[in-house]
Amino acid sequence: MSVAVRTPTASLRGLTGYALGTDHKSVAVRTFCTAFGFFLAGGLLAVLMRTELARPGMQLTSRAGYDQLFTMHGSTMIYFFVTPVALSLGTYLVPLQVGAAEIAAPRVNLVGFWLFVLGGLIAWSGFLTRNGAGAAAWTAEFPQSGSTGTPGEGMDLWISGVALGVLGTMLLAGCMLATIVGRRAPGMTMLRLPVFSWAMLVTCLMVVTSFPALIVAMGGLLLERHGVSVYPGAYGAAAYQDLFWFYGHPVVYVMFFPFVGAALQVIAALSRRRLFGYKGVALSLLLFAALSMSVWGHHMFTTGQVSNDYFSLTSTALAVPAGLEYVAAVGTLIGGAILLRTPMLFAIGFFVQFLLGGLSGIYVASPPLDYHVHDSYVVVAHFHYTLLAGSVFGLFAAVYFWWPKVTGFMLREGLGKLHFWIFVVGTNLTFLPQFFLGYDGMPRRIADYSPANGWTTLNELSTLGSYIVALSVVVFLVNVAVSWLVPREAGPDPWEAQTLEWATTSPPPRYNFEAALPAIRSAEPLLDLRESLAGVGAPREEPA
């Protein structure tokens, strides 16, 4: 079977290639590296914040400086790291997993990457202005984000950068969606889509339906700051938050599903068996995504502007699809022959640590509990358990697993396991104390607190934890450097994995597959091939 009917052009090299190359793999690698750069930058801001908060009194920065630190930390991590990095995994892997030679609309894909880069740089350029960078938190809630609450060009740059960046990530998602819908290889039915591609499909559906709301909110905010009344009075302030959170909650799952898909893919491959409850996962992802559009008001329980009972109901109901994803992970492990390699450690770490974020999410979805903990450090701990202590574990599972496919060589196991355990210690030491701080009354987004509050010890522990997280990232970078300088060849399929990206060379050629694709009769075509060669087993029963 031939896979590509198009005239191959000479691939662009050097700086031109960096700027204009449209190969989805190259766009994905550039998106990943840029996003990872933003992760390091945003992480540096986090370490500065934690250093300031370790002790009462101001040691490092001013109140105005601190407001910029937490604003740019949160914005960088959400708009310019987790969302684009999640989409970069899909941009690289989805065309390979569905057996396509190229992503749909590759030039649009390239524009998406560049808008994301520009958006990030524009938002960060606020640091060069007189009043500094945006300082109205990553949510930029109106009226605080208006021209009297947050004067200065830095805030305008923040708004423009965020809107552009989000538009860019939307384009990346649109191309991926079109690829899944229209570019699957013959035989690749929707119910044979690998679980990671399923997760990306649902992610992209959420992106294209919810991200426009943010662009509208930002456009309105920019107009409002320059004399056009867009969000007047009680209704206007609520309208901004409704628009913002209509984006702001689905994006939480945009930063979660790709890693669920990646972790499940890793767990299946390194348990040496097919995913348990494949259809349950697909169904639960769709249900999850549908519900994600109806939960935004739980961010507004204390505003008095939404129906708290309704949003409590929809938010708590999310436990059902989330539970099915855990069932799939455990059900796949049970009965497997589990290889505890680095990607597997990170995948299991992802599910276990994310659970603290998920369960505390059920807690804050109850208005009587949220009236106490809303906008406190309980919420900070909660969403960092979903994002850093959760999703970033899934990200590293994906990085260790697919690194050999992308680069052609393996990352080191020893350093990888060291990275994992330091990261476990660091994230828990940073965020567990914050549950207690918030419960005891520490609000979020404060630059300072009184020694009389008795919060010093827990804050010191949390700060120590953040340094350990930073150390774990250094170990990862060392691993990358060592593996780069003394490469160990990976070959096409070092994990004996199950999906089509492992049926081509590492890294894959320009149009992905030079040899004919294996027959696609299930979501695990390489496992089918291996089993038929060994003369055992039968593929999953599949309706035609």
Binding site: T148, D309, S312
Partner: protein
């Protein structure tokens, strides 16, 4: 008597044990799987079979837990938010928030004003153990009134008067904080609550007037 901290406690007494139990079950499940099914010489992975009934049963069980949690939550929330149920409050306070401070006035004590002064957080004076009705407005952006001791906060919303009832436990310096980021001096937007026993409160009111 209804109180926000009482309802909070009742709901949390259900949520925390359920959450910890789920956490325990999942951690044990992962640990069991990893130890029992770790690859060793001779072990071959079992082929995967769909178990739709098992999955449906687990989903139903989770939905059952969700239903129990929700019933408790919605009942407690109705008690907290439905001020009509609370009867006639013993005392009323008008709260005004602004960048960056608080002003507390008392309709039954005309002329008595507790307001943020430079470097001195204001004191909110209330009787302890009785229903206090607060009516809150903001002069500018959104702020949030949070007193951790009563496990409650509410946002002060533009062009809106928020009304809520609280019952403060006795204490001369319960801490209060603005919980909604409101700019430069958000960190400093604190107050304390002096919640006095009825006799002490009457004496304070007589002096203050």
């Amino acid at each position: 008597m209804h109180s926000t901290q009482h309802e909070f406690g009742r709901v949390q007494d259900l949520y925390l044990p359920v959450g910890l139990a789920v956490l325990g079950i999942v951690v044990v499940a992962f640990a069991f799987a990893v130890v029992r099914y770790r690859a060793r010489p001779g072990r071959v992975a079992r082929p995967t079979r769909d178990r739709n009934l098992l999955e449906a049963a687990i989903a139903t069980a989770i939905a059952g837990i969700v239903a129990v949690l929700l019933v408790t939550t919605l009942r407690a929330n109705a008690k907290i938010t439905d001020t009509a149920r609370h009867g006639r409050p013993a005392f009323a306070v008008d709260v005004l928030t602004y960048r960056w401070g608080w002003q507390f006035t008392y309709p039954s004590l005309p002329g008595v004003v507790d307001r943020t002064a430079p470097n001195r957080p204001p004191v909110l004076h209330v009787p302890a153990g009785q229903t206090v009705r607060l009516r809150m407005r903001t002069e500018d952006v959104v702020h949030a009134f949070w007193v951790p001791a009563v496990r409650f906060k509410a946002d002060a919303w533009p062009d809106t008067t928020r009304t809520f009832d609280l019952v403060f436990p006795e204490g001369s310096a319960l801490s209060g904080h603005c919980a909604q980021f409101c700019g430069l001096k958000h960190s400093d937007m604190v107050f304390t609550v002096d919640a006095m026993a009825p006799a002490a409160f009457r004496a304070w009111a007589a002096r203050a007037r």
